[in-house]
């Protein structure tokens, strides 16, 4: 869906990205994670031509973006950012309708789509006629996300979209984003400096450092022993083993034998970290899970 081919980006004398070659498949939620200044936002902005590569090529849906009309390309890709950037002189509904209006949708279609998006993002109907200054931070982020999704783009770019809201709202919005990703199957590229957010949301993670990709792949593989030390340290922190176990499902290690009498019950969708936690709490070395048993040895064998 999105491909980078030996891409370099230079701002003045500083090289922001060097030699990036990677692919983002359709339907992935790809989290770009790394410290500030690592080039993750620049990488994101290459996709809709807000930044042009000084060398190399960027392909979107198989086409070299340098050959596409930037306005048309950007209208076909949703974009949400930390500062939201709602238009202060336009109502919530008008803000959401920006791209559909640019694309010449008729009024009934725009109204229907706006209502649908407000429902999807749990925005109260009464907010439609309000100006952005009357919104809370969380509401503004939701409107920004609705605006990015308005013309139903198959690609959504998000630049630290939940950076400026309080932790509770952030958790809600993350859950919502995961729900939207699962429900719509869109390709989402998410920039974040928060390893937890990347681990929680990303089906694919790309770890950047100093303008280079140091590691890429599914979250669990990047924390596994033997993975790139920087990525492991960034994502795993001081407990990489537990972080990785939190990403692996317990059900895969369950054996189909009757659990011993009184074994503590582990929910079927729990992770290996949940299993370890329950064992640490109960002192049991065998847990009942999904009709079978989960042995401590089987859990540790996943390490």
């Amino acid at each position: 869906m999105i491909a980078f081919e030996n891409v370099h980006v230079r701002f003045g004398t500083a090289e922001a990205l060097s030699g990036i070659t990677m692919m983002i498949e359709a339907g992935e939620l790809c989290a770009l994670v790394g410290p500030s200044g690592s080039g993750k936002t620049t990488l994101l902005r290459l996709v809709n031509r807000l930044v042009a590569p000084s060398r190399g090529r960027v392909f979107v849906r198989g086409e070299d973006v340098a050959r596409l009309d930037p306005a048309k390309l950007r209208q076909s890709i949703g974009y949400a950012m930390q500062s939201v950037g709602l238009f202060p002189h336009r109502t919530v509904a008008e803000n959401i309708a920006t791209v559909p209006r640019l694309r010449g949708w008729n009024a009934p279609r725009i109204a229907a789509r706006t209502a649908e998006l407000m429902a999807l993002l749990h925005l109260d109907r009464s907010l439609a006629g309000r100006l952005p200054r009357a919104l809370s931070g969380g509401q503004a982020q939701r409107v920004g996300l609705a605006r990015a999704l308005a013309a139903d783009p198959d690609i959504l770019l998000m630049d630290e979209p939940f950076g400026a809201v309080d932790p509770i709202t952030r958790r809600e919005l993350r859950t919502e984003l995961r729900r939207i990703h699962q429900a719509t199957g869109k390709t989402i590229v998410l920039v974040t400096h928060d390893p937890d957010e990347a681990l929680e949301l990303g089906t694919q993670l790309v770890v950047l450092r100093g303008g280079r990709v140091v590691a890429a792949g599914p979250a669990a593989s990047l924390i596994a022993p033997g993975a790139d030390a920087f990525a492991r340290q960034l994502l795993g922190g001081t407990q990489p083993g537990l972080r990785r176990f939190a990403l692996l499902p317990a059900a895969a290690s369950v054996v189909p034998e009757a659990p011993p009498q009184g074994a503590p019950e582990l929910p079927a969708e729990a992770s290996l970290a949940d299993a370890l936690s329950l064992m640490a709490e109960s002192g049991a070395t065998v847990l009942a899970c999904a009709g079978g048993s989960l042995h401590a040895e089987a859990v540790l064998r996943q390490a």
């Binding site: 390309l73 209208q75 974009y79 950012m81 238009f87 640019l102 920004g144």
Partner: protein
């Protein structure tokens, strides 16, 4: 009502400028010369308004166009030069512009129109560039990222957000224009400066008071009308 003080002042000054008012005032300071007739004052006021409007209109147009041009990526390099030209044109007194352009344009309207254009341009240019630069960078970035073409970013995001501040510049330009149009009388344009020039030539203080009061009344009236127009447009 925001424009009430201006309207009241305009009314008061109109009373002072009227022949009856000027005669009363003249008697108070021991001046007995004949006043300027009301109907001639009115026709001069009309000519004065037309000239001031034309000058302010041209200055506004030029100021807005230049202000937009120097805030675009391609025009940014011209910014220091345009700022310098606007500052110089404001610094040269209108009287000098009128006097210097008489040899080029002859007597009549044109020297005054040129002076008004130069004099009114700077407030509009300053307000336009300032207002465009104050537009929320987030809103501009979002507009660009969503695929608004540069023309739409300007027309749908930047100008609507900048307009309230730009209006202040337009108001200053019009009031300046109404006030300075009086100078045009020196170059033979029919304006409310005409009674002042006549009064100075004939040492008739009543005429000077009439011309000055009428000019000021017109300037206040223009400001009041713009304030009213602005608050109607905002609703």
């Amino acid at each position: 009502m925001r424009a009430l003080p201006q309207l009241l002042l305009a009314l008061l000054l109109t009373l002072v400028a009227s022949p009856q008012g000027a005669v009363l005032l003249g008697q108070a300071i021991g001046e007995t010369a004949a006043p300027f007739p009301a109907e001639r004052l009115l026709s001069l006021a009309l000519a004065h308004s037309g000239l001031a409007l034309a000058g302010a209109g041209a200055a506004s147009m030029l100021g807005i166009v230049l202000g937009i041009a120097v805030t675009r990526p391609v025009g940014r390099g011209l910014r220091p030069m345009v700022d310098a030209i606007a500052a110089i044109s404001q610094a040269v007194p209108p009287v000098v512009v009128v006097a210097l352009s008489v040899p080029a344009f002859g007597f009549g309207l044109w020297p005054t129109a040129l002076a008004l254009l130069l004099y009114g341009m700077m407030p509009v240019l300053r307000a336009t560039t300032g207002a465009l630069e104050a537009v929320s960078p987030d809103a501009r970035a979002a507009a660009e990222a969503m695929g608004l073409p540069p023309r739409d970013v300007l027309l749908e995001v930047e100008l609507p957000l900048a307009w309230p501040v730009m209006q202040d510049g337009l108001r200053v330009a019009l009031v300046l224009s109404v006030a300075t149009a009086a100078v045009g009388a020196l170059a033979g344009a029919s304006t409310l400066g005409t009674p002042i020039v006549l009064g100075l030539q004939n040492q008739n203080a009543v005429l000077i008071v009439q011309g000055a009061a009428a000019t000021a009344a017109l300037a206040f009236l223009a400001e009041a009308l713009l304030l009213l127009g602005g608050s109607v447009a905002r609703r």
